[in-house]
Symmetry: C2
Subunit: 360 residues, 2 copies
């Protein structure tokens, strides 16, 4: 219903935007949705897809059968399987490539880089290195202006015209401006931030707490407990992020509590379902077998716990999850981790624990 | 299930707390739940109830038939209908009286005040005056140490033993300490803050956004839109709160996003249902008639909009709701209010709007 009402605004005459030249790397659901948004907005837009066969198929059918099978792509959107052709001479490169291949794709486009800006659309942490996507960009393409986009953004809802908000974070006014101009529409609003790590951490850490929420749901918890898990999750996410130089206030926004809220409410997500199975007393192996696949959050728990130990950050939910998943602790330990540890502050950036008479 | 596991901890030997003398004014569901918690914790606890008949009945039956009919109260909890007897000589007075009668009860206990501290358990704003409960305490009982308690705390879930977190806010270490000591248990955790207005504003404003969420639900929105409403609600709540001297970081905690999350997820709340009916195109009169009663949030919209105009705070959701409810604007304006106004910051306390190249 809401799509119809917004439709006039969405199909506004093209060409009223500066004719930015945009390339999106990666034809998954989110990359495809963003490419379509930029094309609709009148940008000269190319979607790069690794497989030449798939690129040809999408060019002919205007359908990304694998990732957005029910949606017809804008006729102006170009599809290419040539990295050189896609990247050379464009203004903005939006990278929607999984975290484990993110570095490799930047290495491949390096020869074609002149004055393009590079924007990560990828949520997550590079396996083993614990690098954020913004760090990989800085390492592989130093001197290139860069930014990141993150938020509660299910691609299927975006292409269905559901009102959606996201965040672009960059230290560069011009990069933020260009991303807002190319992606902003009547149903897709792009908010700005300059806290790159803060914005990235929201999208990277949230899967941990989707597992925790699923695990708690196995105990038939109510709204009081769900709300407490959400806020204690925010407490440890922001504590961790501040240690890495982020601003805790970023977690009040779309990439923080916005994405956490969407993820924790999604009973169909793999992370939530793995958590639920663990809460019912299954082992990780049993849970993965029943689900048919693993969940991203499991790897995030391992990586974040390791990094938190190194940085000496107190993360009771992440620790309790680790113990339940890998050290045969009972699932109830997750709940107990929320309730123990005496009298603490609600938000430690408001009232530091050491100023609280009873903190331990 | 979780209740059983926690039950041993809950029924721990009494008397291990300092024998604080606690009085709770008001026998609604939350006041009764907190009185029972304090009594279980070994505090010398009295619950004051206005009606002598009801006080006698509860003393005999150990059941608060009207508000918590399925729950047997602790045998140590005293019930009294005498204000003088309840208040004289106690250490802490917890006030769980509706906002419109809050001032009157403080005036009644004034003659019996010696060195007691006064803690508000009441969420809301005094009609007409726009006073918070903490302000009423300061006005009516100057010099008295005071604090407030707020959070996502459904009384029925608390007495059922569901793990619950709440916040006590006070400038006094001793007050925070006393409240934590008297109420803290294995299933009820009391976090601390010194941002009194911030903690009160969460509980007072959230009902506005429950109406907005209900209204949006009438358009079959998805998770992207729900998350955007939640974060834009936090943006305007914190913007308003900061103007009144609160800390925006408080909204990361239980009394802010915690209570908002619980309220916005509660499709059975009156605020949500009124919003849903408005979203379906009903007038306020029709919605109230269908529901059989009005909702708190309607009054909050009126009061907060007025105050926001006086303080010059940008609150697009509150304004759009006001126009839908009282000025015959179409319900869809609420959605449009989220999407318009150009390129703004995600969290303005991170990236101020005026530093954002495209802000308008």
């Amino acid at each position: 219903m809401i799509e119809q009402v917004f439709s006039e605004a969405v199909t506004k005459p093209k060409g009223n935007q500066a004719q930015l030249k945009i390339t999106i790397l990666g034809g998954g659901s989110f990359g495809t949705a963003m490419a379509n948004m930029a094309a609709r907005n009148g940008c000269d837009t190319t979607l790069w897809i690794r497989s030449a066969d798939v690129a040809t198929e999408i060019t002919q059918t205007r359908i990304n059968k694998k990732y957005l099978p029910d949606f017809e792509l804008d006729s102006a959107l170009k599809i290419s399987a040539s990295l050189e052709e896609s990247v050379l001479g464009c203004d903005l490169i939006l990278v929607a490539i999984p975290s484990h291949s993110f570095r490799a794709i930047l290495q491949q486009i390096k020869p074609f880089m002149t004055a393009q800006a590079v924007i990560s659309l990828t949520k997550g942490i590079e396996p083993n290195s614990f690098c954020f996507m913004s760090e990989i960009i800085q390492q592989e393409l130093p001197q290139v202006p860069y930014g990141v986009v993150s938020g509660p953004n299910l691609a299927k809802e975006i292409v269905a015209g559901m009102p959606t908000g996201t965040v672009v974070a960059s230290h560069s006014d011009l990069v933020r401006h260009a991303v807002q101009t190319s992606l902003h529409s009547a149903v897709f609003r792009v908010f700005a931030s300059d806290d790159i790590y803060g914005v990235e951490l929201g999208g990277a850490l949230k899967n941990i707490y989707a597992i925790a929420m699923g695990m708690a749901a196995a105990y038939k918890i109510g709204e009081n407990t769900r709300s407490m898990i959400l806020t204690r999750a925010l407490a440890e996410m922001s504590r961790f992020a501040v240690k890495l130089g982020a601003n805790p206030l970023t977690f009040l926004g779309l990439s923080g509590v916005g994405d956490l809220f969407a993820t924790c409410n999604s009973a169909l997500s793999r992370n939530y379902q793995i958590g639920f199975a663990l809460g019912k007393g299954q082992s990780l192996d049993e849970a993965i077998k029943a689900l048919g696949q693993t969940a991203e959050g499991i790897n995030t728990v391992i990586q974040v716990r390791k990094r938190a130990l190194e940085l000496d950050v107190y993360m009771p939910i992440t620790n309790a999850l680790y113990e339940v998943i890998f050290e045969q602790a009972p699932a109830l330990n997750m709940a107990l981790s929320l309730m123990k540890n005496g009298h603490r502050s609600d938000v430690e950036f408001v009232l530091p624990h050491q100023h609280n008479l009873l903190s331990k």
